[in-house]
């Protein structure tokens, strides 16, 4: 009965290495003297994540199901493995100095990042709702703690508890949905569900509909789609900014990975109804995020709301239920990670005082181009990319999403989306106005925290990639298109 060979454990080599890295990091933390240990842990994790990336790359031919079909390693999994690990690597690299400024230099920060990455990898490879559930929970439990990392700050506590309560609340819906699906199909395996649903074609029992609806809610929650997004602005604002940068990119990517796998494979036969539901969700998500982002005076909170809007764009591509839309999602997730992380890093650098309630104000950017021209230029690139203005990668991201929508006949939604992206220019541009068109106000200027040495290469890297993908988007899109073939 128990046969190691059929488990195909070698296909999960990167994940095993990842767990090894976490364990090694714990040991490093214990062995090094206090005060120096976090640096050691950080380096251990950096090297470990690079090894994970390398092992993913060299192990790329070893595809197929593992653990008796509970998980599947295919092109889709590979894509998310690389993207998610890469995002985590960026965040780990830039965290140390920033954590020092918050007085929360603790090794557990890195461990939590690694474990949440593990959860996200499970979500990307899951072929069973049980694994999706375990992945979501592993990720979320780590994120709750990460949001509350600044233990002495009320905002951090508050963001954490809101996220935690609403997150576990949604988990209950999710489990209930899975339970109903189990009752209907007799299995929680995604392939079994697909076979069952296509078998009863057109005559899907009501319980299965309810179950799929509840599962949709859970994914929409993690992806921060309106009206399930309520936690996200508060959690994003309360969390340490590196965590915000992480949360607005990686978990969102993982949520869409699971969303795609479950809805395209398992619920593919129900796509017509989900298209309608997602149409409404996408339209209100884009609009809601935009209208609130317009009114923010804090760059951090503006980015939090804009992140909701971007989730709305992704939902537009999601509801096409075709290859072009799925590929557009993968493409957009990658470039969104680059531009958003870049923007948050510059925001960290410009912010004068973490403990100031008025932190991250637009006012701090007054005349930035005269003080720190390179930083202002980098922020300009990120803002233009987020606004979707060519020749940055952001333009092609939106272009693919909306042309996928038009191609599938959702012209109305594409119109709403393009109009929304026109509105969004307003608040991104507002920051550009502050940076480039306003004179500096020397009286109120404080030196700011500055880009620490480790952040500089990452910001430059993000700028280069955002522009490079903007000029040559087809390599990434080709990879994305190949990765989604397994879904359809």
């Amino acid at each position: 009965m128990f046969d190691v060979a059929t488990m195909q454990i070698s296909r999960l080599l990167p994940e095993m290495i990842l767990i090894g890295v976490a364990l090694a990091a714990i040991l490093v933390d214990v062995m090094l003297p206090k005060g120096k240990s976090t640096r050691g842990v950080q380096w251990t994790v950096i090297i470990g994540l690079i090894v994970v990336l390398a092992s993913t790359f060299f192990n790329r031919e070893n595809t197929g199901p593992a653990f008796g079909g509970m998980v599947v390693i295919d092109g889709f999994t590979m894509f998310f493995r690389l993207v998610l690990t890469f995002i985590t690597l960026l965040i780990v690299t830039v965290s140390e100095t920033y954590l020092g400024s918050l007085n929360i230099r603790i090794a557990e920060y890195y461990l939590l990042l690694v474990f949440s990455l593990f959860g996200m990898l499970l979500m990307a490879m899951a072929q069973d709702l049980l694994i999706v559930f375990l992945g979501i929970e592993t990720m979320s439990v780590c994120l709750y703690a990460l949001v509350g990392m600044s233990r002495h700050k009320h905002a951090s506590n508050e963001g954490a508890i809101k996220y935690f309560l609403l997150g576990s609340f949604t988990t209950a819906f999710f489990v209930y949905g899975i339970a109903l699906m189990f009752g209907v199909v007799g299995s929680t395996n995604i392939v079994d569900i697909m076979v069952y649903l296509s078998g009863v074609s057109g005559n899907v029992p009501m319980l299965a509909w309810a179950s799929a609806g509840l599962i949709l809610v859970a994914f929409a929650f993690k992806a921060a789609l309106v009206p399930f997004h309520w936690w996200s602005p508060d959690a994003y604002e309360g969390a340490p900014t590196t965590v915000t940068a992480f949360m607005s990119t990686a978990p969102k990517a993982a949520a869409f990975a699971a969303f795609l796998r479950v809805f395209y494979v398992a619920f593919g036969d129900m796509s017509e109804t989900w298209t309608t539901v997602l149409w409404v969700i996408a339209a209100i998500t884009m609009t809601f995020g935009n209208l609130l982002a317009l009114r923010q005076d804090s760059v951090k909170r503006m980015l939090a709301f804009s992140s909701i809007t971007h989730a709305g764009y992704l939902a537009v591509a999601l509801l096409t239920f075709d290859q072009m839309g799925a590929a557009a999602i993968l493409f957009y997730l990658m470039i969104y990670a680059l531009m958003n992380i870049g923007a948050f890093l510059v925001a960290i650098a410009v912010n004068r005082n973490e403990n100031d309630e008025k932190g991250y104000a637009f006012e701090d950017y007054r005349g930035l181009v005269f003080r720190k021209p390179a930083m202002a230029l980098a922020m300009l690139v990120f803002m233009l990319a987020l606004a979707g203005i060519p020749p940055t990668a952001g333009f092609f991201g939106k272009y693919y999403i909306f042309s996928a929508a038009v191609k599938s006949g959702f012209v109305g939604l594409a119109v709403i989306g393009v109009l929304n992206s026109a509105v969004s220019v307003y608040y991104y541009l507002r920051l550009i106005v502050f940076m480039f068109l306003k004179d500096r106000d020397e009286a109120s200027e404080t030196p700011g925290f500055n880009l620490s040495g480790e952040m500089v290469p990452i910001v430059i890297f993000c700028v280069i990639l955002v522009l490079l993908i903007g000029f040559f988007p087809d390599a990434l899109l080709a990879v994305a298109t190949r990765s989604v073939t397994v879904l359809l």
Partner: protein, 683 residues
């Protein structure tokens, strides 16, 4: 679709075969590299160069581009007229999901006209700016932005497919925005100026949708493929919804960029930027991008005559409407701004009556005389500043023509060049504007002759607008340069002619404004004298051939009658202005004495107020509703301020809202869950 793609490929092969004999034009990339070098050097490397060096360096880079443009023009001249379309491919740019795009230039008669105008005018304006911006603290930044603008403008007109054009399209928008905001110091103005960018985004949205439609129905976005494909599919299905949609969406884009009704509102505000910027971007080049795009997409409009008719009406209406506003403006730059809107309307209208060549011709002559008018107005403002500075007056508006008068004697070079440009825009025979305007009116009349009925409208609108233009332009000249000086006491001593870096470009432009139209002489003067028409013909010929469109022919007699009517109209306008402002010596009234229709005109039909009340305020209210209403009141306020109040209300539903922040979030979340379950239930 498969079959069509094959045909398109075949067509592309033929083009490639022709290209085999074409000269190697890859050096065209230097058109872009020069401004790029200028912008990198001035933007990043240049730290403390002296002003002169910075300015001349930036200018030389543009002159470099201009010489490349001239050389490309020579190269095309050597080719057979029907092979004057050279695709210069640099690399394969995108290749995904059936969309194949190269990073490539299309060097053809149309793009060559555009690059000559863009680089030529830019060179002159760069040089002029060395004098105009003298002493500005951000001199270096100004030249960086100017080079950035030229860079994107050239991408816009050179790209051989819509996405590349769109990159330039967005880029010039950004550069223009940075330059408009160049002198803004306080927040309110900066935010108001976002109008330019946001209005333009509405237009961009049209272009995007048009591209989506093209891609999904024609499968390509490259000019040399998409037009034949459109012709093949829709030549026997005129006014198909898809093509009409593409045409109207492109018109929306053009209306944003080229300031057509109702999206023109940003252009007069854009005059807040430095005057050279108004001359270059908001008169001569960027605002003509929309006209360029419509002319480039001529195929779609001949295939969708209904869309073209809308183009003609919007253009004609804009021409007339803006001219009436121009009648009553007192700010010298505002008069010119509305006149630009009006002239752009002319060009758009020309495209609407299938006179694409005439539209582009007017685009060129307009670039000469309007750039000259703006630079001249800049020189006037410069002079007025000098005068006001002389008496330490910082309250009098140096741009208000009610403070000018009699400047003719003080600044003769500016006066004479300004007068020549005014004669050109008024359509006096012999000057450049006359020939292009006449050609447009002739085509509009031909269009009427062919279609009959209401299609007389474009001609009438154009003719009336021409008369009004002559009137308000001469009103401007008389009030500014004739009569008595009306500025503050003593400031007269401080009025001086501008330096040579400013006056020499004026003189060069003046020559162009006079002779620039001689490349397109009307048929009444002899056969084959309209060089411009023949030069552009191969660009538009495939469109006309696709639908076998042949414009009506006009007899010599009709031509002469049309010319006479146009000239008389212009002379009538000038005469009226002469009678009012010279013979009767009328003076413009101060703001408080404006009454009746004149006041309506002066207030620009109150459109800004209507926009504010009808569009902007409701938008702000909606935002406030979501901000204060939904998120603050329902979500957070429900707990903080609302708890006491809602207890009194005691409603059972509201009770759930008052429990707390997370509780309220949870309520809204559950409402979402219920909505989804209901949706699948009623499915």
């Amino acid at each position: 679709m498969e079959h069509a793609a094959e045909q398109v490929h075949h067509a592309a092969d033929t083009v490639a075969a022709a290209a085999a004999h074409a000269p190697d034009l890859h050096y065209a990339i230097w058109l872009l590299l020069f401004p790029l070098i200028g912008l990198v050097v001035n933007g990043l490397i240049n730290r403390n160069w002296p002003e002169k060096l910075t300015g001349w360096f930036g200018s030389l880079m543009i002159i470099g581009s201009f010489s490349v443009a001239v050389s490309l023009f020579m190269q095309l001249l050597k080719l057979d007229p029907h092979h004057r379309a050279v695709n210069v491919t640099f690399f394969n740019w995108l290749n995904i999901g059936g969309l194949h795009l190269d990073f490539a230039f299309l060097i053809d008669p149309l793009s060559v006209v555009m690059i000559l105008v863009v680089t030529g005018i830019s060179s002159l304006i760069h040089i002029y700016s060395i004098g105009y911006m003298h002493g500005d603290a951000r001199f270096r930044v100004f030249f960086t932005y100017l080079n950035l603008f030229v860079f994107f403008m050239l991408i816009l007109v050179l790209g051989n497919n819509y996405p590349i054009m769109f990159i330039g399209w967005e880029g010039v928008g950004l550069a223009s925005y940075l330059l408009i905001g160049f002198w803004w110091e306080d927040m309110s103005k900066a935010e108001a100026g976002m109008k330019a960018f946001v209005v333009n985004r509405i237009g961009d949205f049209g272009v995007l949708i048009a591209m989506f439609l093209m891609f999904s129905h024609l499968g390509t976005l490259t000019f040399s493929e998409v037009f034949p494909a459109a012709a093949q599919h829709y030549a026997h299905d005129l006014n198909n919804a898809v093509i009409v949609g593409i045409g109207l969406m492109l018109l929306l884009g053009a209306a944003g960029k080229s300031a057509q009704f109702p999206l023109y509102v940003w252009l007069p505000d854009a005059m807040a930027g430095p005057t050279p910027v108004s001359a270059l971007i908001h008169a001569a080049t960027m605002v003509t991008a929309g006209v360029y795009m419509i002319a480039r997409s001529s195929m779609f409009y001949v295939l969708a005559p209904n869309a073209a008719w809308v183009v003609a009406l919007i253009g004609g209406f804009t021409a007339l409407f803006a001219a009436t506003i121009g009648l009553r403006q007192f700010d010298i730059k505002k008069v010119l701004a509305y006149s630009t809107v009006s002239q752009l309307g002319y060009m758009v209208m020309a495209c609407g009556v299938f006179a694409f060549g005439a539209g582009v011709f007017h685009l060129m002559t307009h670039a000469f005389f309007k750039a000259l008018l703006f630079l001249g107005s800049g020189a006037v403002i410069h002079t007025m500043h000098g005068g006001l500075h002389h008496v330490n007056d910082h309250h009098t508006d140096p741009q208000d023509i009610r403070n000018m008068g009699g400047l003719r004697k003080k600044i003769p070079v500016t006066f004479w060049t300004f007068l020549l440009a005014t004669l050109a825009i008024a359509g006096i025979p012999g000057f450049s504007g006359f020939f292009s305007k006449d050609e447009i009116l002739a085509y509009a009349f031909m269009f009427f002759k062919g279609e009959g009925g209401l299609t007389i409208l474009p001609y009438v609108l154009g003719l009336v607008a021409a008369g009004l233009t002559a009137f308000y332009m001469f009103r401007l000249v008389y009030l500014t340069f004739y009569g008595k000086y009306k500025g503050p006491e003593g400031s007269e001593e401080g009025l001086h002619e501008s330096p040579a870096v400013m006056t020499v470009p004026l003189m060069i432009l003046a020559i162009l404004a006079v002779i620039g139209g001689w490349v397109g002489l009307p048929p009444v003067l002899g056969e084959n004298l309209n060089k411009m028409h023949h030069w552009l013909e191969p660009v538009f010929a495939p469109s006309f051939e696709a639908v076998h469109y042949h414009p009506e022919h006009l007899s010599m007699g009709t031509e002469w009658v049309l010319i006479t009517i146009a000239v008389l109209t212009a002379l009538f306008g000038i005469g009226l202005a002469w009678m009012f402002y010279i013979k009767q010596g009328r003076e413009a009234k101060p703001d408080s004495e404006q009454t009746g229709f004149a006041k309506v005109l002066w207030k620009k039909y109150y459109l800004d107020e209507i926009y504010n009340a009808g569009v902007i305020q409701p938008l702000i209210k909606t935002c406030k509703f979501f901000w204060h209403g939904v998120d603050e009141k329902v979500v957070d306020g429900g707990m903080v301020h609302g708890s006491a109040r809602t207890v009194r209300w005691g409603g059972s539903v509201l009770r759930t809202l008052q429990t707390g922040v997370v509780g309220n979030y949870a309520v809204l979340l559950v409402i979402g869950v219920v909505a989804i379950l209901l949706a699948v239930y009623v499915r």
